[in-house]
């Protein structure tokens, strides 16, 4: 008993230091909140988080000691490890009943207050979805867990998706609080870990995987491809769909490359830098335009570029626009995965005018990505074969993707209905020239200029076959040192 009794005193003494530090950091934070210095605020929040962690660790260690020292059967024994995380002041408050959502083995359609799937399974009864439970066999990778991606993940989680792979290299910061999903207490956590934490509580049936990494570097790319393939073989995809919720061209091009190599269908999404327009786009390698076939298409905000004030900021954002784009994206995803309604190949949103253009973008036979061109040929052969089979009267399984007629490279604008969709009678896609994009849609980047051979030769760099890279590097370093 002597040994056991001494432990709590030790615990108190140990805890004194970090508690003091905690109090002083907390008062600093209060001062900064008053002064509203955002960068300092964040630093302070991080520091505080660390001190809370340190306190917890100490208390936990002390509790562990206590348990070791205490004779068996004394006190609350095994459960003591769970105690330290709740700080002392809690005791004064009335107990809060926390409902923990337990795992559910099979989706039930039973209408009961405690069945999280009853409203989803009702889609079946209403005849919207044939087999809703199929969603549990589906796995989706979401790249970019920001304003759009995090909300898309929450939607998929609440819909009971089977697996969710999440990718982001960023951390949550207070500047993200104008968007949905993340909360101030997530500050400093990686976006993927913070997302898993919240989503796991909402629906533990989902298999979450969190990847905190940048996919655009050479190493990051390999890891990304490894993670979305079976047994990490880098060849066969194990996901049903990739959703791009990134905010930059480089990352989109990276996803495009990976999906071309894996022949993986994906959906691209984006919100404009002025926060008042957005879009989603379905990309099926070889079947539709890939992200490199034509310069990225965006919805024009209808604002004169010259009147836009851009000085001082990189991007604006609104929770509304981002939430809507996430909604469009996941709606299209559900239709695609569960086979209902029409999957929109491209859907734009102009918030200024509440205008929603749709269109169909055909692949470019002259695409600068060789892999895309190869897949276009492959798809064309498959299509011809299917036509032959059909003529022979054999039963053919239809592919998910829209079928394209033999026409030259063009962007065909399809109002409201995609081609080859049931009931798309009135307006079949009229092939138009590149300049004839759907109303209100424009390219966000110029096309690469074609430089003729002669000009290039005249202006091109000269390299000597005898010299290797190391020699050139040494030359540059020598110049640097001068």
């Amino acid at each position: 008993m002597m040994e056991g009794g001494s432990a709590p005193v030790k615990e108190q003494e140990d805890a004194t230091h970090p508690m003091k530090a905690f109090a002083s950091e907390l008062s600093k934070l209060q001062n900064q909140v008053q002064a509203l210095q955002s960068t300092k605020l964040q630093e302070q929040v991080l520091k505080l988080r660390d001190s809370v962690k340190a306190i917890n660790e100490r208390v936990q260690a002390a509790a562990e000691d206590l348990r070791k020292d205490a004779p068996v059967g004394m006190g609350s024994g095994g459960s003591s490890a769970a105690v330290p995380t709740s700080a002392a002041p809690r005791a004064a408050n009335p107990p809060v009943v926390v409902v923990k959502r337990e795992k559910i083995a099979k989706m039930s359609a039973e209408v009961k207050d405690d069945n999280p799937y009853s409203r989803l399974m009702a889609l079946q009864r209403m005849g919207i979805v044939k087999d809703y439970e199929k969603i549990r066999e589906k796995t989706v990778a979401v790249v970019g867990i920001g304003g759009v991606g995090s909300v898309a993940c929450e939607m998929l989680t609440r819909c009971g998706i089977g697996g969710l792979l999440m990718y982001d290299y960023d951390k949550v910061e207070l500047a993200n609080m104008n968007r949905l999903f993340f909360r101030p207490e997530h500050s400093g956590m990686t976006k993927t870990d913070a997302a898993v934490k919240t989503l796991m509580e909402i629906n533990p049936d989902v298999n979450f995987e969190s990847y905190h990494m940048n996919i655009t570097t050479v190493d990051g790319y390999d890891k990304f491809v490894e993670s979305i393939t079976k047994d990490g073989d880098g060849k066969t995809s194990r996901v049903d769909l990739v959703l791009s919720c990134v905010d930059n061209y480089e990352a989109r091009m990276t996803i495009n490359q990976a999906c071309l190599e894996l022949e993986q269908n994906w959906m691209e999404s984006g919100v404009s830098e002025d926060a008042v327009s957005g879009h989603i786009q379905v990309i099926e390698p070889g079947v539709t335009a890939c992200f490199e076939c034509v310069p990225p298409l965006v919805v024009a905000s209808g604002i004169d570029e010259k009147t836009l004030k851009r000085e001082g900021v990189c991007a604006a954002s609104l929770p509304t626009t981002m939430g809507m784009v996430a909604g469009f994206l996941v709606q299209n995803t559900l239709k695609y995965l569960l086979n209902f309604g029409q999957v929109s190949p491209y859907l734009g949103y102009n918030a200024m005018k509440d205008y929603f253009p749709t269109m169909d973008i055909q692949p470019n036979p002259g695409c600068s990505n060789a892999r895309c061109c190869k897949l276009q040929v492959k798809y064309e052969e498959k299509r011809k074969q299917r036509k032959l089979d059909k003529e022979k009267g054999e039963a053919v399984e239809e592919d998910m993707g829209p079928l394209h007629e033999d026409n030259e490279w063009s962007i065909s604008v399809v109002e409201d209905d995609g081609p080859q969709q049931e009931g798309a009678g009135e307006e079949q896609g009229a092939a138009t020239s590149e300049a004839n994009l759907a109303d209100g849609i424009e390219f966000s980047m110029p096309k690469a200029d074609v430089i003729d051979e002669k000009t290039l030769e005249e202006n091109a760099v000269e390299t000597n076959d005898d010299e290797d890279v190391d020699e050139l590097r040494a030359q540059l370093e020598a110049l640097n040192a001068k």
Binding site: E250, Q257, E462, E467, N480
Partner: protein, 167 residues
């Protein structure tokens, strides 16, 4: 940032164009491209030194995938120097490298996480237009140079950064 000044325009025209379209995953062609990158950089640094406007040093790892060096800016006769680094993206040269000044991370809104300078409005369309003939030297000349000229004086005048001797 505005459009490029006459000096930048005339300098960039003197930086040789690159010929090989190859990224770091292209085992065969990348060494060729890397040689061109170095040759163009050597030319650019020589140009800068020739006109007494040297403003950076740069070198890569053996694979040519990660680059690091220093860049500096003279303001009111004082030299402000920063670490510079970037990775060659897997989709290079279709997309430009994302230049990073890690020391300035969080100090300006014209920057993304990790100190990646914001180049989306002016520079990236120009890169797309000239892809795959622009290289690292062009990115420094048309991306980092003008960014520093616009941002650094502002950061100094508003007291966000101070000269190392005054710290």
């Amino acid at each position: 940032m505005g459009d490029w000044d006459a000096g930048t325009k005339s300098t960039v025209q003197k930086i040789p164009l690159l010929k090989t379209k190859a990224g770091p995953r292209d085992k065969e062609e990348w060494p060729k491209r890397l040689k061109e990158e170095y040759a163009a950089l050597i030319k650019y640094v020589q140009l800068n030194k020739g006109s007494d406007q040297d403003w950076f040093t740069i070198s890569s790892n053996k694979e040519g995938t990660h680059w690091s060096g220093k860049c500096w800016y003279i303001h009111n006769l004082l030299k402000y120097e920063f670490d510079l680094e970037f990775d060659i993206p897997v989709t290079y040269p279709m997309t430009s490298p994302e230049l990073q000044l890690p020391e300035l991370d969080g100090k300006t809104s014209k920057m993304y996480r990790g100190g990646k300078i914001c180049l989306s409005i002016h520079f990236k369309p120009l890169w797309a237009k000239n892809s795959p003939h622009f290289g690292v030297a062009h990115a420094l000349c048309l991306g980092l140079g003008p960014w520093m000229a616009a941002e650094i004086p502002h950061l100094i005048d508003s007291g966000i950064i101070s000269h190392k001797d005054k710290k």
